[in-house]
Symmetry: C2
Subunit: 132 residues, 2 copies
């Protein structure tokens, strides 16, 4: 498939081969626009996500399919999937069930909603916690 | 550095080594929350971004530092940088100068604002263009 066909076509042709079998996916909360996490997907994870509407990834640390919420009750339900120009990156637009997607917990012992809970100060190069 | 220190510290310790020198970065428009693109950064790209406030990446296709807007006049100005729990992914919150970040153009011949201009239909598995 030519580059222009990948970019301007309505045919799905995700470029897994180009990226060693894994593509990055950004998980974004539909309601707020907050970015919750970045993960990886292989073809099987995308197919499973389309079938079940539950955000499914490929865990690069455990080398297995990873259905978010399977063990934590923090399921991520898919509203929409966006595909980029090169068809080598995805956005999952989602709604959360449970507290949050992050495996870390805040001071109250609750899973943080987003993995992006720190901001990088450009001057000091230190991290500032965004949570109250 | 221990995992808990990476997750709960205000010290910046980006995990480039863990990911072969490159981390994914999501570019998000501050004003709208729209996700514009996903790219890669190495340490040099992050340092340059912090210095210049211009979103800078590592081009994996050209194998060189890539200052967005250098050739296209579509500069991306940094408002804020977020770092995830594992310190192996970033969000650039930005404002755009110029039409958009995508190298593709819409029917009017204008660079698309976001690379994510198509939605994946879960039933037909075809792509729908989001632009009017």
């Amino acid at each position: 498939m030519k580059e222009s066909e990948i970019e301007e076509s309505n045919q799905l042709n995700l470029q897994f081969d180009k990226r060693g079998g894994l593509l990055p996916v950004v998980v974004q909360e539909s309601e707020t626009g907050d970015i919750l996490m970045i993960a990886s997907v292989n073809r099987e994870a995308v197919d499973r996500t389309l079938e079940t509407k539950k955000a499914t990834f490929w865990s690069t640390s455990r080398n297995k399919l990873w259905v978010k919420g399977e063990t934590s009750e923090n399921t991520i339900w898919i509203d929409e999937i966006l595909v980029d120009c090169d068809q080598d990156a995805l956005v999952y637009k989602v709604r959360l069930e449970g507290d949050g997607v992050c495996h870390t917990k805040n001071k109250l012992g609750v899973h943080r909603k987003s993995c992006f809970y720190r901001s990088l100060n450009p001057d000091s190069k230190e991290l500032t916690f965004l949570e109250k």
